[in-house]
Subunit: 353 residues, 5 copies
């Protein structure tokens, strides 16, 4: 949780206009890749100096500039100047604590979205903040770290797919669709964890189960925070009458919207399942306690009276007529066996054994 | 739950425009039946090649094409081309994870709805995704599997009922009404399960009851997801000013709407009943624990002091005056009986016995 | 609960246009009474043939036709034809599972409402479905069973009260007001049950209390379902610009509306009270368990060590110096009394005794 | 609670137009006081006959008629006739079960509000229903009982304060402000009770705590019912474009509105605090149970094995070699002390002692 | 909590127009500082007499008058007269129980906001009420106590930062931004407390943990009350078409709005985490109880039967054949060891050991 904590405290003690990086500090250098294409041509290169991507600005081809790493404020400022981005937006780009949102700044749209990936081994869900600046002929995406879920889109651009015939609005749709598709993968893993935990709680609950449950709840809170605002954002993109979004692309955003609703529905289903789990744990503990107490009670209630009987005839009084009786010992055994039988019948009647 | 899981993961790693089958894989071949009728004539046949149903397209009679099985993308694409269905809708047809919705595409309406059936033997509720394309003279319905709840409608068409005098809008109403009528059957079975479980939890709760409760909760979550959006969809059908829905049919949709409200009310009632059941289970366990502990406490508190008394006179001290007393033994019995009586009176006073 | 179950399942397997009786089957014949009045005259009779009430149709006097029993579809159809009621409304009349609602069909209004009565002896709340057709000069009311809460209204009509000067809209107000007044009676009985149960749960909770609590919750769910939609219905009656509701009657409907709000407020108050009762039961059980365990612990922790001491000196070793000591026995008693005193002081300090 | 019950049942079995007194029956006679003032003069008197207050009707001075006691229907009717109040309002005046509301009847406004006072000794909160008829030159207030919170207002009128320069709208503001100020007093006492109870539940919870908690919850439910609707009512008074409320008075109503929001905020805070208290009680009981069980377990697990050892050497077998051993007795003590030490180490390791 | 209590009760028994100090009584004298600046010049001084700040009123420079301490009604009244503040606002200034709000009084805006600071040592969160009067060339801020979070703003004014080029609207933005930045610091400390407590509850819960949990919940309730209304207030500032807020400043308020949303999201996340903690505590107690009971049950069920066996052969009957048997003693040991083994196998099977 240290990551979150840092994000919170970093913000403080700075003058309002100063750019702050609120995400994970990332000492790796910024990596910039440019993909430039239209229906007929395609170019892809990795650049080192921001200036190298400026020539693409005034062409009519679609230019997708992807920037991995947010900690190099100078690079971001240079791009901001080149594409005339408002300083507050440049500052916002580095604030990874933001919720998904869409802001229309007339000559461009500013979008933020959470990218989710799941580590196959540790099952850890990692949420990465992605910002996009959508202009009429360019799309600039900013990511916290190297590595993303956009390879299918890159492949389709290379393969000269349908995507090459559309503009930047379809490109932004394709990227968002990729991100949302990965949400389904995360949901799937989450479902496994929910169901495994549910079974564990009924069958063999331990305090570790409780820790798992807490972890699960927290993960779900973070996912909700990442997914819910997306719904509003996509719906705003669809309604928005910006000339940057073509009429024929809108139906695709509506499709993404439906997928997000499906993700939200699934999340809410999990939430409903998880919300009562602590009660399952409690009742599971109670049930086991009952079983333990039944055993104790059975043994104790059978043997305590017998021990008393034995104790009586272990007394050393000078005059105890039973002790002298030739069949005394056997009669006592008879009494004791009788007591046991009565007890057992009673317990059977109460369905304890 | 493997079905749901597969549905989630299948979606991923595919380019946005590609058709994906998200339902249960169904190796059985697609089965196509055509029913064509107007007030005077009626024809029903099962066809093998999609092309066979094309002649019905341009007639003024009502043509109902029913397709069982969604895994044959080619068949769906051919029908799509014949009736000029938008590619995104064709892709959506195969996405069985969608919630019920209605989309107006001007020359036709696209409807999705969940069909519920209950297995008489296993009491398993199965939810099947049904999509419908409603045109002015045709209705194309897509189902995941063979077998549906539409036989009453088919029977009425054959019998030359009122339905033969109406258009496709009444046909779609009749199908939806059939589906909603089956919801009542499912609600009825659900009610039995809710009430049986409630009794079981009070009378004889075991961990299996907990599993049943979880199962019940999950079933109810899925039913809610299937039924709630229907309300909005039917209400949209009623409000919609599409020329495909005749004014005189609207009153029937309003009737279906009232039935859906009734189903939702019933579901919410069950939810209210189920929501507190885990607490009933817990208190039932606590009550039984109390009963067990009372028995243990009774036996232990009566016999432990007596055993102590017996132990005292089992000591081997050379000088213990009581042991020599001729009535010592009987006096000890007197003391012990006295202790028991005092204990019993105390327990009676506390209402434990 | 069998009644509800039947209501649910009956609906199924019938063609959409067929009339279905969803209420309790009622083998008693339908009973029809007609009350016809205006400011100057008054007539009341019970009729056997539906045709007998047709002459009243075209008069300008207020005609109130009351029909007890919904299972005679023929009678309902005849009345429907006489007063030109839409077939779907006639079918709806027999569906007693409907929620309260108001439908404006231009020449008449269709109202449904739930009538509640409480059995003085068994405290059972019975909810009966009442439908009304309100025309300009007639009011037709349909009830499931003989017996209703409308006697005060009949009495006022006979006594030539204010009601005789108004039209059918005031009559329908008077009937609804009577029904709502009876809700207050039901609320009163419910309050008694809520408070009795609350006390029982604190003082002497048993599993039967749990059953009572469940019963109470279910009753409240059903009452809510009956009362909540009424609010919307009356408010619709007030807003409705139908010529069937006179301006001067509207203020009376607003008054009924306020009463319904009062009933709903009361119901919500009860719900708040009941919602935490299961926790009261649980803590009541926990408290009693604590008391039981305290007694067990007191007795066991005092006597188990003493019994051990006695056991030590009951051993038969050849050489045990204490046994030979002339005051050994008394010294042991001293030790044992000392142990008891220490224990008691400790328990007193922990406030267990 | 008998008061509430009576209020509910009284309503029933009466013809809709009949006036009903739903409050506490109050055998004390009605008490009427008139205060008449303008900026220059002031008159205050108690009258016996309603007629005595009629002369003030047509003057331009502000006339405040206060009526304590609602059970004298004749008095109310006379006032109603004098000031032309609608009969339904007159009936409503006596219905003390109403929620706070404002009704605009053009020539006058009808207001109802709940006055709260707290008994210093018993800490009982009593809620009294107050109705007001606000005309252009008169304000008639109706209270259930003698005694109110309006003395500061009376004092200010007598002292020739700012209030004397304003009209009836400022007077009604002053009265409502007085009532709302008293809500703060009640909140303060409530807070004490909430905090005392919270401490009691953690430190020394008994079933009486549970009863207190229930009482507290019920009080809060009643306060909520009294305060929440007030918010809407005052906001309606502010928005209302009735000529009875001057523009310059509106800012005062907005001030009262802010105070009500503050009261509601406080109430909601208490509600949040109280809502989890039953869980605190439960966990407090559980914790104490744990402590009790630890003591029992310590004593029992230490002494039961020792008692067994002592029992073994209390057996009377002819051949038991240890018994003959000269150091047998001491060796047994050694074993027993060893067992105790092992046990204590184990318990220490588990942090039980 | 005495502070809150006083705040509530002070309000009562005062005529509506009278100024009341509802905050902490502060015997320290009022401290007034004036900062006056424009792009070219800057002046800062602390004054003793209110009159000293009047000369700044009619200049076109930005004048920020900061007043620490609210208990000197005369000072406040003088300032009110100088700047023509409405008397009700002056009274409101001293009511520290208000929620954050914005009121537009045409020639000036009245803002209230809660300033939060956290004591590094005690971790106590203190909430201070700040009011601001925003005119076209002046900003008057009122604080309860000396000491605030505005030093960064003062520093920027001194350093001739961007702030010097803007008007009072940017100044008020800078102050609010400072306050909101401090919320993040408080959130960070709160997160530590939430997580520490969560761990404590699972690992080593004691009744003190319960007290901490209560404290945490209360703190969160107070924070919510302070932060939630801020959202609405800032959004009102942005929407407000007052000439006091320049168009170019609005984007900054939108930025602050986003930060507040982030704080609210974080608070809600904590709330979700804390809401189930009492259940974690309960299940943690239950689990420990299970562990304790297992130990007791193990020891008791093993040794109680053995003690009985030993007791049997401690009886003093004249005729007990086993006692005479040369291997009797060893056979008994054999039986006892057998019993232990059976028991251990049984417990192992039930997974208790």
């Amino acid at each position: 949780m240290s990551r979150h904590r840092r994000k919170l405290s970093k913000k403080v003690e700075m003058a309002p206009g100063t750019g702050t990086i609120e995400g994970e500090p990332n000492s790796a250098p910024v990596k910039i890749t440019v993909i430039d294409y239209d229906a007929s041509r395609y170019e892809e290169k990795q650049i080192n100096l921001v200036g190298e991507c400026f020539p693409y600005r005034d062409t009519s081809t679609v230019t997708w500039i992807n920037i991995d790493g947010l900690n190099d404020t100078r690079t971001i400022d240079e791009i901001g100047q080149c594409y005339s981005i408002h300083p507050l937006i440049l500052k916002d780009l580095q604030n990874t604590g933001q919720r998904p949102k869409m802001q229309d700044l007339e000559s461009y749209l500013y979008l933020t979205i959470k990218m989710m990936t799941i580590d196959e081994k540790t099952q850890e869900i990692s949420i990465e903040h992605v910002s996009m600046i959508l202009g009429s002929t360019y799309l600039i995406s900013f990511q916290e770290n190297i590595g993303d879920v956009f390879d299918p889109v890159r492949e389709r651009i290379r393969r000269e797919g349908r995507i090459r015939k559309f503009g930047t609005d379809y490109l932004v749709y394709a990227l968002i669709d990729d991100i949302v598709d990965n949400y389904f993968l995360v949901m799937e893993k989450l479902e496994e964890r929910v169901e495994d935990l549910e079974e564990e709680l009924v069958v063999n609950a331990t305090p570790e189960s409780l820790s798992k449950l807490n972890k699960l709840k927290k993960d779900m809170i973070h996912l909700r925070k990442a997914v819910w605002p997306l719904r509003e954002m996509i719906s705003a993109l669809d309604r928005e009458d910006s000339p940057l979004i073509q009429a024929e692309t809108r139906i695709y955003f509506r499709d993404v919207y439906d997928h997000i609703i499906q993700v939200i529905d699934t999340l809410e289903t999990f939430r409903d399942m998880v919300s009562g789990m602590i009660d399952i744990y409690l009742s599971s503990l109670s049930y086991r306690m009952n079983e333990i107490m039944k055993v104790l009670t059975l043994i104790a209630t059978i043997f305590i009276p017998l021990t008393f009987v034995a104790g009586v005839y272990g007394m050393n009084f000078d005059y105890m007529p039973e002790l002298r009786h030739p069949y005394g010992y056997f009669m006592v055994w008879g009494v004791m066996i009788g007591v046991v039988v009565v007890m057992l019948v009673y317990f059977r009647k109460r369905q304890w054994i």
